[in-house]
C-alpha cells in the first residue's frame, strides 16, 4: 500500500489572482505557495520572500520560499536563508540546508563564517555543506576544524567529508584529532575508516 499524500485542493502552480507580494503576506496557504514560486523574479521579491520565510509556518510554502530564494541566488537571498540554519524546527533546518546546497555559484564565501559560528550545530552542518566546494577548498577549510574545534561532533562531521575527498596530507590531522578526544567513542572509529579510504585511493609512490 503506497504512502498517501493528500492532494492539494487547488492547483499548486495556479498564478495568484492578486499581487503575489501581497498574497505572500496574507493569502491562503495555496495563494502563499503560488506567490512564493512567483515572487523570486519580481522587483522586491527577495525581501518579501525573506520576510515571509521568517513568519511562514506551512512546510510546503516554506519549501517554495526556500526554493525561490536559492534560485535567486543573490547575496541578499543567501543572507535571507542563512539564519534559518539555527532554526529549532528540524524540518526548516533540513530545508535550509537543501536550499543552500543548490545556491547558484555556491556557498564558498559564506562557509568560513558558518564554520566559525558560535553554535556547534551550525558548524556541524557547515562541514556537510563544504562537500559542495572543490575538494582542495573543502580540505583547506575542514582540516583546521580537526585541529581546533572544541566539539567532537563537529570534528566528526569534518572527518565524514574528508574521508571522501582528502588526500594523504590530511592523515596526520585526522589522527591528531582522534587523539584530541580520547574519551569519544565514535571519532577513533571514524578516523580509522577515513584513513583506510584515503589510503585505498592513494596510488603507491612508484605507480
Amino acid at each position: 500500500m503506497p504512502l498517501i499524500r493528500k492532494p492539494s485542493p487547488a492547483a499548486p502552480d495556479a498564478v495568484p489572482a492578486r499581487d503575489p507580494l501581497a498574497a505572500l503576506r496574507d493569502g491562503s496557504p495555496d495563494e502563499r505557495f503560488a506567490a512564493a514560486r512567483a515572487a523570486g523574479g519580481l522587483p522586491g521579491g527577495v525581501p518579501a520572500l525573506a520576510g515571509a520565510l521568517s513568519r511562514e509556518a506551512d512546510p510546503r510554502v516554506r519549501e517554495a520560499i526556500l526554493t525561490s530564494l536559492s534560485r535567486a541566488g543573490t547575496p541578499e537571498a543567501v543572507a535571507a536563508i542563512l539564519p534559518h540554519v539555527h532554526a529549532d524546527d528540524a524540518n526548516l533546518r533540513a530545508g535550509t540546508l537543501d536550499a543552500l546546497r543548490v545556491v547558484p555559484g555556491g556557498l564558498g564565501p559564506h562557509l568560513p563564517g558558518l564554520l566559525a559560528d558560535p553554535d556547534p550545530d551550525v558548524r556541524l552542518l557547515a562541514c556537510d555543506l563544504a562537500r559542495g566546494l572543490p575538494a582542495g577548498e573543502a580540505v583547506a577549510l575542514l582540516v583546521p576544524i580537526l585541529d581546533a574545534d572544541a566539539e567532537a561532533n563537529v570534528c566528526a562531521a569534518a572527518v565524514e567529508v574528508l574521508a571522501e575527498i582528502a588526500g594523504p596530507d590530511a592523515l596526520p590531522a585526522l589522527e591528531a584529532c582522534a587523539r584530541r578526544f580520547p574519551g569519544d567513542p565514535f571519532l577513533p572509529f571514524a578516523v580509522r575508516i577515513a584513513a583506510g579510504r584515503i589510503g585505498a585511493r592513494t596510488p603507491a609512490p612508484d605507480e
Binding site: 529549532d88 533540513a94 540546508l97 550545530d121 566528526a156 569519544d184 567513542p185 565514535f186
Partner: protein, 129 residues
C-alpha cells in the same frame, strides 16, 4: 539477542561513517542491518521490507528524522508502530520534546557508545535480559 531469525534494524542517517559505526555494533550484537540516507529513502525501504527497529538521525537532507517519524506514525500500516531510537547531536530540551512529539521511543545524544546503542536496541526489540 535470542536465537533464531535475527531482528532487523534500519539505520537512517546521512553520515556514511555513522551508519557504518552503528552497523558494526548492531551486527556484532546479532542484528541484521539495512541503511537509509534520509527519511524519504527510509519510508521507501520500510514499505518493501519492514524492520523491527529504527535508529534515526534528526538533521538529514530531503526529509529530516522528525518529519520521517511523523509521516510514519500517521500511516494506517503495521510499520507505523515500529519502535524508533533517535540519535542526534541536538541535545536541548526542545529537541527531546520534539522527538517525543514525533514518535521517538528513546532519544540518545551523539556520540553514542556502541554498547549503549545495542542495549537500547535490545530494550526496544524485546531482547533485553
Amino acid at each position: 539477542m535470542t536465537e533464531g531469525k535475527p531482528k532487523r534494524v534500519l539505520v537512517v542517517d546521512d553520515a556514511a561513517l555513522v551508519r557504518l559505526y552503528y552497523r558494526d555494533a548492531l551486527e556484532r550484537a546479532g542484528y541484521a542491518v539495512d541503511e537509509a540516507m534520509n527519511g524519504l529513502e527510509a519510508l521507501e525501504k520500510l514499505l518493501v521490507a519492514p524492520v523491527d527497529l529504527l535508529v534515526v538521525d534528526v538533521n538529514m537532507p530531503q526529509m529530516d528524522g522528525f518529519t520521517f517519524l511523523r509521516v510514519l506514525r500517521r500511516q494506517d500500516l503495521p510499520v507505523a508502530s515500529i519502535p524508533a531510537l533517535v540519535t542526534t547531536t541536538e541535545a536541548g530540551p526542545q529537541d527531546r520534546a520534539a522527538a517525543r512529539e514525533a514518535g521517538a521511543n528513546f532519544y540518545l545524544v551523539k556520540p553514542v557508545p556502541q554498547d549503549v546503542l545495542t542495549v537500547y536496541a535490545g530494550l526496544l526489540c524485546g531482547d533485553a535480559p
